[in-house]
Amino acid sequence: MSHALTRRSALLGGLGGAALFGLAACSSSATGSSSKTADSGSGDANALTITGFSGAFADQFQAEVIGPFQEANSGTKVTYTPATNSAELLAGLRTNTSKATYDLVIMDSSVSTTANSEGLFSKLDSSIVTSLGDLVDAAVIDEGYGPAITIDSLALIANPSVFDTLPDTWSALAGSTYKGQLALQIADTRGIALIAGLSKELGLDYKKSIDEQLAQMKKLAANAQTFAPQPNLYDAIRSGSVGAGVGWNARAQALHDESPKELIVQVPQGLGVAQISTINLVETSTKKDLAQKFVEFAISADSQQRMAEKAFYGSVNSTVKVSDTIDARTASTTGLLADDAPIDWAWIAPNYADWVQRIQREVIGG
């Protein structure tokens, strides 16, 4: 008896296998798409999906803004999906231009200006987002488009068991005291902000050239133990595996309150660099009214006050009044950024990739 398959049975078997594979692929694709678009694309008109930064910001934003919004709007369900970084969000928006995965996107202002110019975000309706008129100047990025939702500043951070005080300038990190003790995660927005900070300190204009700033940054880099602290800058400093670094003020302030013996933070006087995150309405969102209602809630005085007091973000709403103590610890125009000229993120946006590349090559790789 021959065990060889007939042509017919083999082809049938093969086609059957292919059909099974196809079914499995369709089924998994369907599952994937339904879970991804359950948000914006779902029939639930009261469901809103937002994406933005991960980590501490996500926790604070959900506690201080999303939670209260859902309480104030019973029946509304807001889902927050954390993303790795703004660039990843922009990439996601570009690949989903026909159907919105998210209704609102929170990202760096340097990236949102690009998304605005590509038509990925919509302008806001000032009759719904009435607080647009109360914004501080720095919070208006592209007229009519998503405004700033938080203002932060670049800051010096250290573990007090390694360094009990922090210097007054960015350049001081080049001192021999810091040899092998620094965590400099600078191949991203932090590096761009540090260029701006060094420009202020050295009296240079980053719009003309960044050569000298990079040369100075290279001196700091000589003291770096790592350019990619793990699991993140703040925990690496808290654990003492690195002594100091350059990070964001708001998160560091919150962590300082959590464990003052493990982390101290300081923005060099007059050398702060504002980092602005914007909240943006996705062009293809099917729930634009509800999304704008959320934007209004997020930039309202109440929400901004909570974000300032609990999470140490500078308020984008000019009507917010916080205590002097909080003001002195947040990146507000009356607090940490009082004497600082604003950084022009819209101008930097088209240069962002080139600058990061130069940092990678001339500072880290050099």
Partner: protein, 288 residues
Amino acid sequence: MTRTWRPPVAWGLLVPGLAVLLFAYAAPMLWVLRMAFNRFIGGGGIEITFTVDSFADVFTDPYYLRVAWTTVKLGLLVSVVTVIVAYPLSLFLVRTTSRFRGLLTILAIAPMLVSSVARTYGWMVVLGNQGLLNSVLKGLGLTDTPVQLANQFSGVVIALVQIFLPYAVLAMTSGFGRLDDTLEQAAASLGAGRITRFLRVTLPLTLPGVLTGLLLVFVLSISAYVTPRLIGGGRVFVLASEIYDQATNQLNWPLAAALSLVLVVVFGVAVTVFGLLQRRVERWVSGR
């Protein structure tokens, strides 16, 4: 009698595999190929066109050539060290007549059950300034200042060798099929000492397995992303991490695509070179 025709049977059985390859490999690769010919414009924008700008960047910019060289160097170093470490272990597993042979084999490949991310974090704990290794060295009075292994190229090599060791063991044990005790016994009966027996009999017979192990670990090493990223401290630039940075941080998708194709070419060259070597070795071993 039922008429049989074998070639179409084989083709029919290939259909599911081909379908998977077509949808999961060929289509994305074509998309990457097309993307590589687009033009990157500032601010993350992409102009849909047909230009070789990205390839020109890759092949004329010393930085990318350096990254490519670092990647190949890492692959060569890791694969050679891994195979040297895995060789005696594989030889033992193939030769042992112990009833625990199965258990020993499982133990050798058990690390594969733990994610490489977890193992990488484990190595960070071991190699860090305040890690196990430095604590032991300090405790023994061998050093005052921490030995810098984490956040360095050397740390990446150490971690990758351990991570890919089970793969090398698996590839080599399955490639040691030609090993025949009677040949070594014959050599011994003819007066060959241990070293001569190893160099003239054992090593040549195990070379095909060694080459398979080398190829497998080399390919895995040059495409490694997590370990160079986490243990390299941001200063070890390899093609995989460069592709990620270009795609997600700098949003230069055409360049990321061009670099991806370079990596595919490196794969292709490696497979071809190892294939040729394997054929030569086979011919040499079989005396043809």
